[in-house]
């Protein structure tokens, strides 16, 4: 993998931040900007400065601006008035009626914050979860083509969803039951691989192939279920394509918790992942318990990804492409790659969600479509751009 020219440990050039710190800050800034600006996108047009004011107001707990809507305050009124004037809406009365303005602003606040923010945050957290899982798995399996669904997770979760739709379980609480079943379904193949890894003496190639076999098996089970009740086909397929529109604050909190737990656990293995790249024999001779690290990473990524997938459906490419992007900016050291890849995944999925909401507005695309449309060409670009550059020196 081409990365920046390695610098020796602990001696960055004076007066300049190390490259990985710049990348981290850059992506963090991009993410923050996206979080503030993405609520602009949707079927109802809200001016971007109104959006920013609303988000700021909510995020600071009402401290700033003090009241975008309702009682007057210089800043809020400034934001609102200029927005309203520029919109030139016919529904506006010529003399600005505070109560009408307040009502409109209240509606805009509800749309921008209560309706658009939960899916957006889900994109951020799920994207980070997929990114860091993909990065960790690529390192563990020493294979750049690995994504978080490697071990059968996507098909397992699809089976879980299909079970719900086919047998019409819990029709009254479907909204709550679907993520639960998808989560359980996604865990099953991962747990099988984890138990296989505990058996000892399994190389990473064997685990990889186990995952592939499980993928096929669960795919067949899925097909059987769909055959049994073809009418559930459309529901399952729609879920499979991935969607963030049903997100709620509760979903966000759950995925965030999983991200913090799982991400921390994975991040602690940065040094071990570096050493694993030399092969499990060498790693063990140097003191790294390669099998235990592999097992733990498989377990944590399975749980983390299953949580994300339970609420978002199967979104491809984020887990595959984000690690490559992160490595291009940060180099091959996993201690630095893992924090950055979480940010990259978050940015990628958030951008895709914005595209999904905007491109054929007011219809919202399933978010798996823009990630593939953006991710695939970008991935090809990365691959073929690499070929043209030779690594200096003999090999």
């Amino acid at each position: 993998m081409i990365g920046p020219t390695p610098r020796s440990v602990g001696t960055p050039p004076a007066h300049r931040l190390p490259r990985w710190v710049l990348a981290f800050l850059g992506f963090a800034a991009a993410l923050a900007a996206l979080v503030f600006l993405s609520p602009v996108f949707g079927s109802v047009r809200i001016p971007w400065h109104v959006v920013v004011a609303i988000v700021l107001h909510q995020v600071t707990g009402g401290a700033f601006p003090t009241a975008p809507c309702g009682s007057p305050s210089f800043l809020s009124l400034y934001f609102f008035e200029s927005a309203v004037t520029r919109e030139g809406t016919a529904r506006l009365l010529s003399g600005l009626s505070t109560s009408y303005g307040a009502r409109q602003c209240a509606i805009w606040t509800t749309i921008a914050w209560d309706a658009r923010m939960p899916p957006l945050l889900l994109a951020v957290f799920a994207g980070a979860a997929l990114g860091i899982s993909g990065g960790a798995l690529q390192g563990t399996f020493r294979n750049p083509l690995v994504d978080p669904y490697l071990l059968g997770l996507s098909t397992g979760a699809a089976v879980g969803a299909a079970v719900l739709f086919t047998f019409n379980l819990a029709p009254a609480q479907q909204a709550a039951a679907l993520p639960l079943l998808a989560f359980c379904g996604g865990l099953v193949p991962g747990l099988v691989v984890y138990l296989a890894a505990r058996g000892g003496g399994r190389s990473v190639e064997t685990l990889l192939l186990t995952g592939v076999a499980l993928n096929f098996l669960f795919s067949a089970i899925l097909d059987l279920l769909l055959l049994y009740r073809p009418s559930s086909n459309i529901n399952v397929n729609f879920w499979l394509l991935g969607g963030l529109g049903d997100a709620s604050w509760t979903h966000d909190a759950i995925v965030l918790s999983a991200l913090l737990l799982g991400g921390t656990a994975i991040g602690l293995y940065g040094r071990e992942l570096n050493i694993l790249q030399l092969g499990s024999d060498v790693a063990e001779s140097v003191g790294v318990d390669a099998r235990r690290v592999t097992r733990r990473i498989v377990l944590v990524t399975t749980v983390l990804t299953a949580t994300a997938v339970a609420f978002t459906g199967v979104i491809g490419f984020v887990g595959l492409v984000s690690p490559h992007i992160a490595r291009r900016f940060v180099g091959p050291d996993y201690r630095r790659v893992l924090p950055v890849v979480a940010l990259v995944g978050a940015v990628f999925l958030t951008l895709s969600w914005d595209i999904a909401e905007t491109v054929i507005s007011p219809i919202v695309l399933p978010v798996g479509i823009p990630t593939a449309f953006v991710g695939a060409p970008f991935f090809l670009y990365l691959l073929y751009r690499r070929r043209g550059r030779a690594v200096g020196g003999p090999t």
Binding site: P6, V286, G287, V391, G393
Partner: protein
């Protein structure tokens, strides 16, 4: 069990199986601190497997491997890594990290779990890099190093582990000669100065003999010999284990033994029944004829040489090739006996080749004795390389040479032309199967 002398790595009837195949059969040996033990043997003899068993990567089917009395297998990985360092023959390429970062991987077992590398770790890395002479490349990416540099980098990583035991599997196979000797010398000095026990697996038994304190020879999983090099090395052992016939020599400067394999007999063209090979007599001395002797011998000619002085380097080669030689005492002028013997050889030769030997008063007769035969037998004189003086006989050598050439001898520009000339002048007698024949068969 205590005291520095008895601490060390010990294999006790270690047996390793891969399925039904036994890779290492009941091997018992011991390496003490400060000692360099070379593990020699042909491919597939079990050297790598034994080293892997010593570091705990493959399980033992029988026997134990222990360090300082404690079995290696039960030690936790981090403790084992601080005790035993293993350098594999090959490893996966890995990412393009900096060399310094790579060597720091060897410090993993010394760095506490949630800490960064400390000053002691950095010092270990720096001295490991210095030991393999790669300090100036510490910023380079691993993928930018050559094969030899990467091998040294691997060794540095293992050295950085600062383990009392070092297991090196073919640590020098990709290196050029200079680096090989250098690295092995450094490894030996590290072993002695730092009191480490080093096991070095090599396929080159001569290198093993040169640097190791003791040599252990493995053949098909069995330990067939252990001991100091001078005791272990022998032609019989070499033939038995490697299946190659070799001569045991002793290095004059160090007194250490080394083995020189003979060329496999099959390289020589086989004799046709009913025919004998052509006879060529080579005149030389001072090392000028060595190459010619070897070549003609390889090509299947029956070679003789003379008159050569004892202890001349050409004599050594002739002796080695079992070439009939007319000999004279060192530095003595050619006497009647040696000249008569030489004459016999000359008269029975189908062709005579004169190497560009330095001519002095003592061997001038070599040229004079050729004159009577110049009409009967094809003679070729290889021209001496220009610019190098060869006539130490006040011009008598040059005169003799001129005389021979005038009388019909050929002049050849160099050693390479000899074979061509020989085949040419024997052409009329060379049948289609290409084996030169004697005059008797024409």
């Amino acid at each position: 069990m205590s005291g520095a002398a008895s601490s060390g790595l010990r294999a006790d009837r270690a047996t390793v199986r891969y399925g039904a195949r036994v890779a290492v059969r009941s091997v018992s040996l011991e390496v003490t601190a400060g000692e360099l033990l070379a593990l020699a043997g042909p491919n597939g003899s079990g050297k790598s497997t034994l080293l892997r068993a010593m570091v705990g990567l493959v399980p033992l089917a029988d026997g134990t491997i222990s360090y300082d009395g404690r079995t290696v297998e039960v030690q936790p990985l981090r403790e084992r890594a601080r005790t035993i360092g293993w350098m594999p023959q090959e490893e996966e390429a890995g990412e393009n990290v900096s060399l310094e970062q790579y060597v720091e991987y060897g410090r993993y077992a010394h760095i506490p779990p949630f800490s960064a590398a400390g000053a002691q770790d950095r010092r270990a890395v720096a001295s490991a890099l210095a030991a393999v002479d790669l300090s100036r490349f510490s910023d380079r990416g691993m993928r930018e190093l050559s094969g030899g540099e990467r091998q040294r980098a691997r060794l540095a990583r293992v050295l950085a582990q600062e383990s009392p035991v070092l297991l090196l599997d073919e640590a020098t196979s990709h290196l050029d000669m200079g680096h090989q000797l250098d690295i092995l010398a450094r490894v030996r000095s590290i072993a002695r100065q730092e009191g480490r026990a080093v096991v070095l697996a090599l396929h080159d038994i001569n290198l093993a003999a040169r640097f190791a304190d003791r040599v252990a020879v493995l053949s098909r999983g069995h330990l067939v010999a252990t001991g100091p090099p001078s005791e272990v090395l022998s032609s019989e052992l070499f033939a038995e284990v490697w299946g190659v016939v070799a001569q045991l020599r002793r290095d004059p400067t160090s007194g250490l033994p080394y083995l020189v394999p003979e060329l496999p007999r099959a390289a020589r063209p086989s004799r046709r029944p009913g025919r004998s090979a052509a006879r060529v007599h080579v005149v030389g001395g001072g090392g000028s004829a060595s190459a010619i002797l070897r070549r003609l011998s390889d090509d299947g000619f029956e070679v003789s040489a003379g008159v050569l002085h004892l202890f001349d380097s050409d004599t050594v080669v002739a002796d080695e090739l079992h070439v009939p030689t007319a000999l004279e005492a060192p530095f003595a002028p050619l006497g009647a006996d040696s000249r008569r013997r030489n004459g016999e050889l000359l008269d029975t030769a189908d062709a005579i080749v004169v190497a560009p030997f330095p001519v002095g008063p003592s061997n001038l007769a070599n040229l004079h004795d050729l004159l009577p035969r110049v009409r009967r037998t094809p003679i070729a004189l290889v021209a001496p390389p220009s610019g190098i003086p060869w006539d130490y006989a006040d011009g008598a050598g040059t005169a003799a040479r001129e005389a021979l050439l005038l009388a019909g001898a050929e002049s050849l520009p160099g050693v390479e032309a000899v074979e061509g000339w020989l085949r040419g002048c024997l052409l009329a007698t060379v049948p289609d199967d290409g084996v030169p024949t004697t005059r008797a068969n024409r």
